[in-house]
């Protein structure tokens, strides 16, 4: 009970200057996070340098909740590479392995077929109607590194948004009531 009383007291005693300082500090933290994110996008060459594994189609290598570090270079796409791609008209990126490559002599364009390690069949059913191959513009990046379990935070926040609101509410309360 005393803690609630303290909190209410400290909210009542907020001075404008202190509030503004805290708001600026918060803004600085948020913008530095954004700067780091954008810098990572430049360094890795892809618009999503980090991706969370959402399905079990690459088990036992990648489990749901793992994080993949991606990189995209101009190197040609070859079999065996683990690529992240998006199907036209769908938002969710898919992480699977390339099992077939056909590269045109004249244009350098490639036809690519993918398959999840844990799936029995290749991804032809996942592609858009009538699409038989993936092309370079569908592919967002290649997986080069891997961190286990770290992605569960993102999955929980996406699937149970209430937790996201609770966390942000608690952080906001902490910022307002801290005596720094």
């Amino acid at each position: 009970m005393g803690w609630i009383g303290e909190t209410v007291d400290s909210i009542k005693s907020i001075k404008i200057r202190q509030l503004l300082t805290q708001a600026v500090t918060l803004g600085m933290i948020v913008t530095s996070a954004l700067i780091i994110w954008k810098a990572m996008m430049c360094v890795t060459g892809t618009e999503s340098p980090v991706v969370v594994v959402l399905s079990g189609s690459m088990e036992p290598g990648f489990q749901r909740g793992d994080i993949l570090l991606l990189r995209m270079t101009k190197d040609p796409i070859r079999t065996g590479e683990i690529v992240v791609f998006k199907i036209d008209g769908r938002d969710i990126p898919i992480v699977h392995r390339v099992i077939e490559v056909h590269e045109r002599k004249t244009t350098g364009k490639v036809d690519v077929l993918t398959k999840g390690d844990n799936n029995d069949v290749d991804d032809i059913d996942l592609y858009a109607d009538g699409q038989m191959w993936l092309h370079r513009h569908h592919i967002m990046g290649r997986a080069v590194g891997f961190l286990p379990y770290v992605g569960w935070v993102t999955i929980i926040m996406t699937e149970k948004p209430i937790i996201k609101y609770i966390l942000i509410g608690a952080m906001g309360l902490l910022v307002i009531t801290s005596k720094d």
């Binding site: 036992p60 079999t79 065996g80 077939e100 590269e103 045109r104 390690d117």
Partner: protein, 167 residues
């Protein structure tokens, strides 16, 4: 300065930093492993070789694959993904790579193997260029770590040739 919140925060930050550092070191230690994999592939039999109704060549092979990938395993290895692909050129395509077989090797003990199977995935061309075609068979491996950087390499074996006529 000594409240529960501050102490909890300091502890958590320290724990996460140490954990990240350990993951980086584990991954870095993979650079020092001495890797000497070896493999041999033999085509035992061409089971059949036909032109499909939609115009593309398809061939079914029985392969004999012998490999020793034990030296690829380090203490930071979760599994090794190995696959065999056929590589060849055609008049339209400067490179075709078709995966014929793959396997997940979860432990070092299983990494030395001898297997005789027919191709797991269908070997279909874009067109009908496979008669008399010379091609390479490559054994690729992809080392998936417990944490950190993944790396991959391959052995290329050349000198294979498909028959000149359908059968």
């Amino acid at each position: 300065m000594h409240s529960f919140g501050y102490r909890g925060n300091a502890l958590l930050t320290f724990a996460v930093t140490i954990l990240a550092f350990m993951c980086a070191i584990a991954s870095f230690s993979d650079n020092f492993s001495n890797q000497t994999p070896s493999a041999q592939i033999q085509i035992l039999n061409i089971n059949w070789f036909q032109k499909q109704p939609h115009g593309n060549d398809e061939v079914s092979l029985t392969l004999n694959i012998t490999a020793d990938l034990q030296s690829l395993f380090t203490w930071n290895t979760k599994q090794v993904f190995a696959f065999v692909a056929a590589e060849y050129k055609t008049s339209k395509n400067s490179l075709n790579q078709v995966s014929l077989w793959d396997a997940i090797i979860p432990e070092k003990e299983h990494a030395k193997f001898w297997i005789q199977i027919s191709n797991k995935y269908r070997f279909i061309d874009q067109g009908y260029n496979l008669r008399g075609k010379d091609f390479n068979l490559t054994l690729h491996w992809h080392v998936m770590p417990k944490t950190g950087k993944m790396f991959a390499d391959k052995i290329v074996m050349s000198g294979y040739r498909l028959p000149d006529a359908y059968r």
